[in-house]
Each structure stands twice: as C-alpha cells, then as structure tokens.
C-alpha cells in the first residue's frame, strides 16, 4: 500500500489484552485507504473481531485494552475516544451477529443509527429513503419488529442502521455469518455499491475468504493475533498457500494431510 503521509485509517502495531491477562492481538498493523474496501481474513479466534473492536473502541465494554501501538484515523489518534465520539467522526462498526434491536421496528432500528446526527429531521428522512432504495426489502418490512425478520434482513438492517450515521468508514464484522450463499452475494453487492456511490470505506472481517477477496481491493490474513500475510486482493486470491488453506483449492488436485511436503508448508503457516 502506498505510504503517502497518513492513510485514511492506520493501525500501528497494536496489542490487545483482555481481562489484563489474555493476550489476543500481538502487534497488528494495517491500513485502509480512503474509499477502499479492505478485507481482514482468518479463521475463528484469529483476532479479526478484536481488531475491529479495538478500532471502534467497543473493547472497553468487554474488558479489553489496547496496551501497545496506536490507531490513527485521518492522522489523528482515536484510541482514547468513546464509541459515540468516534461515530460522530465517521467511524462506525456493524457488529458480528447483526445485533439488531429486536423489539424495535426495522424503521426504528434504522433511526437509532441517526442518534448522533444533528442535522434535523428532514435530512434524516432523506437518508432513510436512500437506505430503503439500497435495501428495498427493508422498506417492505419497515414496520415489523426486527426480532421477527430473517437473518438476511437483519444484516441489511444492521448495515443500513450504520449508514444512517453517515459514516465515512464502516467496520463490518462477518456480514456473511449464517446466511445463504445467494444472500451473501446480495449483501456484498450492496456493500460494493455503497462504497462506490456513497464513498464509504470498508474494513471487513470475514471467514468467507472467497467472497471477501472478490469484493475487496486489499486483504490481510490473520492468524493467532498476528497479520501473517497481506497483499492486493487479486494477488492473495492467486497465492498458492491462500488457495490451499483458505479457499480449499489446490493446483495439484486434492491432497491428503498425510502428504509430508504439504504438512511442512502447513506447519510454517500455523507456527
């Protein structure tokens, strides 16, 4: 990635410790350029969500602490802000597992996203219409309680809710979780559109490497709290190791784990 002064979002060598003892991130650095979609890939427990929460400052509520390193947004340090201030500055997180307000209607859910805005009812109503244009399905279900809507609709609701804060940067955690492949495509399509038309940058954490790499420009692969690999999405997608361990493809056809050569290479990955 280019190094012109400061990137839009810059995470420098952060270390995160939960409950004062559990070391989860062991020096993670990454950058998101303005208007980019960056994927953060890795298996369960690799530290993707923790990285996102460290950026959005939601860690505090889970007794986690950023103990080393710093996080710069537009060149300013943001580690000590609370989530609400960060939302006002334009960084918002869509949490893993949607977290819609179940007893609120879809429309009320969307409106809670506008909590930090001070530009009046009319502007908010306009944004609401805009979101309904991106997610026509939400318009249909605007008055049903979010708890009774489907997983896909809840994911759309969560993204739409974040969009109502008029963010410049969305931290999107595992949007594909528990959704049918077709829906996953649909949601990534919309993410791409929001990125192109509204100029929102995305940092998305995903396990679904295949889809994530197709829709993003750049990717980081995390393992055990470290970034082990990074590169353009296209290059990553063509990398032999990524293909084998994350995409389940191999040029040499299907292989067994008993294969010694393969085992050695795998060992290097898991070290």
């Amino acid at each position: 990635m280019t190094d012109n002064a400061h990137a839009f979002l810059e995470v420098n060598n952060i270390e995160v410790i939960y409950d004062h003892v559990i070391l989860v991130l062991k020096g993670v650095s990454l950058e998101v350029p303005k208007g980019g979609i960056v994927a953060l890939l890795g298996a369960n427990g690799a530290g993707k969500s923790t990285t996102l929460k460290a950026i959005s400052n939601l860690l505090g509520a889970e007794r986690g602490d950023v103990t080393k390193g710093n996080i710069l947004y537009k060149g300013e340090a943001v580690e000590s802000l609370n989530p609400s201030d960060l939302v006002k500055r334009g960084v918002i997180q869509v949490m893993e597992g949607r977290h819609c307000f179940e007893h609120l209607t879809i429309e009320e859910n969307l409106l809670t996203g506008a909590y930090t805005r001070r530009d009046g009812r009319k502007a908010i109503a306009q944004s609401l219409e805009l979101i309904y244009d991106y997610f026509p399905r939400l318009r249909e279900r605007r008055s049903s309680q979010a708890g009774y809507t489907s997983g896909g609709e809840q994911q759309m609701c969560a993204i739409g809710r974040a969009m109502l804060a008029q963010p410049e940067m969305i931290l999107l955690d595992e949007p594909s979780m528990g959704l049918a492949p077709q829906l996953v495509e649909e949601i990534f399509e919309i993410v791409k559109k929001l990125n192109q038309n509204e100029g929102v940058s995305f940092l998305l954490a995903e396990q679904n490497t295949n889809v994530a790499l197709r829709y993003s420009d750049y990717g980081y692969i995390m393992e055990n709290g470290r970034v082990v690999m990074e590169g353009n999405a296209k290059e990553l997608g063509e990398n032999e190791d990524v293909k084998e361990f994350y995409l389940g493809l191999s040029t040499e056809g299907r292989k067994s784990f008993r294969d010694v050569k393969n085992y050695r290479r795998r060992k290097r990955w898991l070290a």
């Binding site: 939601l58 609370n82 609400s84 006002k88 819609c100 307000f101 409106l111």
Partner: protein
C-alpha cells in the same frame, strides 16, 4: 398502545368476573351485602388505589425498559424523595420550592448512581446490575433516614382527604384519590409519548434491547442511564408525594415497592400502559375480593390477592398483558 385481541379478551373477562363474582356472592351468601351503588363505590375506590400502585410500578418499568434490569431501589427512591421533600419543607422552604429542590436532588442522585455504580458495570449480566440496585436500595434507605430522621412525618398538600358524594349522592369517593388519578394519567401519557416518539425515547428502548449494539451506533450509555434514572427519580417523587400524603412519610413507603411487583407481572415489565392497567386491575380486584368474597372464607384476602393473580399470570402469560414478547428465532 395497540391492543391485541387476546389482551382485550383478558381485560374484558376480568371485568366481567369482577362484576359477576360479587353479584353471585351477594345472592348466595347472607353475610355479604350487595347493592349496585355500594359495588361501584368499592370498585371505584379500588381503581383509584390501583392508580397509586401504578405510580410506583411506573418507575420500575422505566428503568426496566432502558436497561433490562429490575430496579430494586425504586421503593427506596420513593421514600428518599418523599423524605427529602418533607425535610426541605420543614426547613422552611415553601412547598413549590421544596418540590423543585427535590427534583434537582433526584437528578443529582441519578448522576451519582450512574457515575459510581452503573458505569463500571456496562455490559455485565443483568443479575449483576440487579444486585447493584439492591445495594442502592439499602444505601438510600439508610442515607435518607440518617439525614432527615426516621420518625413518621406528615406531608400535607392542602387537598382534602375526606370523601365526597358523587353521582347524585349515591357513591362516596375520596377527592384526593381522584386528584392522584388525574396526575398519574397525565404522567403516563407524557411518558408513553416520550418513549414511543422521541429520539431519546427510541434510544432508551434500543439500550434496553442490546447495550453493545447501542454503543456501536453511537448512543452514549452514560447519558441514557442518567436520563432514565432521573426520570425514574421524578416518578418516584410523584409517587412519594401521593403515598406520603396518604400514609405519612415513613419507612413503610419503601415497602410499597413490593405491591408494584404483581402489578408489573400483570401489566408486563416493559409497558407503561401495562403498569397502569395492571395497577387498576389489581387495585379494583383486591378491594372487591376483600369486600365481597372475603366474608365467605373468613377475611384477609386483600393482602395476598394481588400475588395470587400474579402467580396465575406467570403460568399463562409470563410476559404480562402488554409486555414485549420474548422473541426467539428458531
């Protein structure tokens, strides 16, 4: 308030039972005196005392809606507000000034509770917050009485406590109860509108559903909790004034919170209109049961009737009449 059909039927059925049971009891038993004006007198008296229960229940509902926690300290807040009001009044402040000063005290109390207790408990289990409110309750009980003394005090608002005849001289109603009912009614309408239609009301409901998600969209939990505890404090003050001028300001005010519990189970912990209707049903129900059923089984129904009713509700409709259904996706 959208009245669901089954809620409507339950209310209709309870009203019918309330009329039918006393009437048949009056026919069947020699000991029970039944006449229509007398029946209505008892029923209206019951409804009006139910309003007083609702006032206390309302405070619980507010905090439950905004944090999903049963605020054990609500009764203590009622006592504390009433003690402060009377104490300030005795120090020579005129009543209206004392009320304003007490409002400010309740606001400061809300801020202190948020700062000292709640802030460090963000995202903890509900049961932990509940335990914290028990602590707050004991603290407030003791603190209030340490400052203002523990003897029974008189709170006189200048309203007549004597009953008057209404409806062409047929039915005796306590004027004070009527005033209390009007005040409670206004309070409920204002609060219901506030929760349903304002930005902050929506945020309060959002926080109740999911603390973390609320944080993530930029709702500052600190402010929300101060607001909700302050509103609960104001409701506690109103309840304190009403109950205090009825019973005198004394420690037993903190215990009326126990009467709010069945009201909440009946009406639903999350519903403001539910608190009112639950209060009315329980108020009228227990008075009617005491007058028209108790003589047959030797009396003393009033004390446990509400809890029996609540128990029945827990079996058949655990979310209460208007409570939010527990949504579970399968």
């Amino acid at each position: 308030m959208r009245l669901e059909r089954d809620v409507f039927y339950i209310i209709l059925a309870s009203l019918l039972l309330m009329v039918a049971i006393p009437w048949t009891a009056g026919l069947l038993s020699e000991e029970i005196f039944f006449e229509w004006p007398f029946f209505f007198e008892v029923a209206i008296g019951g409804l009006l005392s139910g309003v007083m229960y609702s006032l206390v229940a309302l405070g619980f509902v507010l905090i439950f809606k905004a944090s999903g926690v049963f605020n054990f300290a609500q009764g203590a807040m009622v006592l504390f507000a009433a003690l402060t009001l009377v104490g300030l009044n005795e120090m020579g402040l005129p009543m209206w000034l004392a009320i304003i000063a007490t409002l400010i005290v309740m606001l400061v109390l809300a801020m202190a509770i948020e700062r000292v207790v709640l802030r460090s408990l963000v995202n903890q289990e509900h049961i932990i917050l509940f335990m914290a409110t028990i602590g707050i309750a004991y603290f407030l009980d003791g603190f209030g009485q340490t400052i203002w003394g523990s003897e029974v005090k008189n709170l006189d608002l200048g309203f007549s406590q004597a009953p008057d005849f209404y409806f062409g001289g047929l039915i005796l109603i306590n004027d004070f109860d009527l005033i209390a009912a009007v005040i409670a009614g206004i309070l409920v309408i204002v609060l219901a509108l506030f929760f349903q239609y304002t930005r902050i009301g929506r945020a309060l409901r959002a926080v109740a559903d999911d603390h973390q998600a609320a944080l993530s969209v930029g709702i500052p939990l600190k402010h929300i909790w101060v607001i909700v505890w302050a509103v609960a404090g104001i409701v506690a003050l109103v309840a304190g004034i009403m109950w205090g001028s009825k019973l005198g300001v004394q420690f037993s005010l903190a215990l009326i919170a126990l009467k709010a519990l069945p009201v909440l189970i009946l009406g639903g912990f999350t519903s403001i209109p539910g608190a009112i209707i639950g209060g009315l049903l329980i108020g009228a129900g227990e008075k009617l049961a005491e007058v028209f059923i108790a003589p047959m089984i030797g009396g003393g129904i009033e004390d446990w009737f509400a809890y029996m009713l609540a128990l029945a509700f827990l079996v058949f409709r655990p979310q209460g009449l208007f409570g939010e259904k527990i949504i579970e996706r399968v």
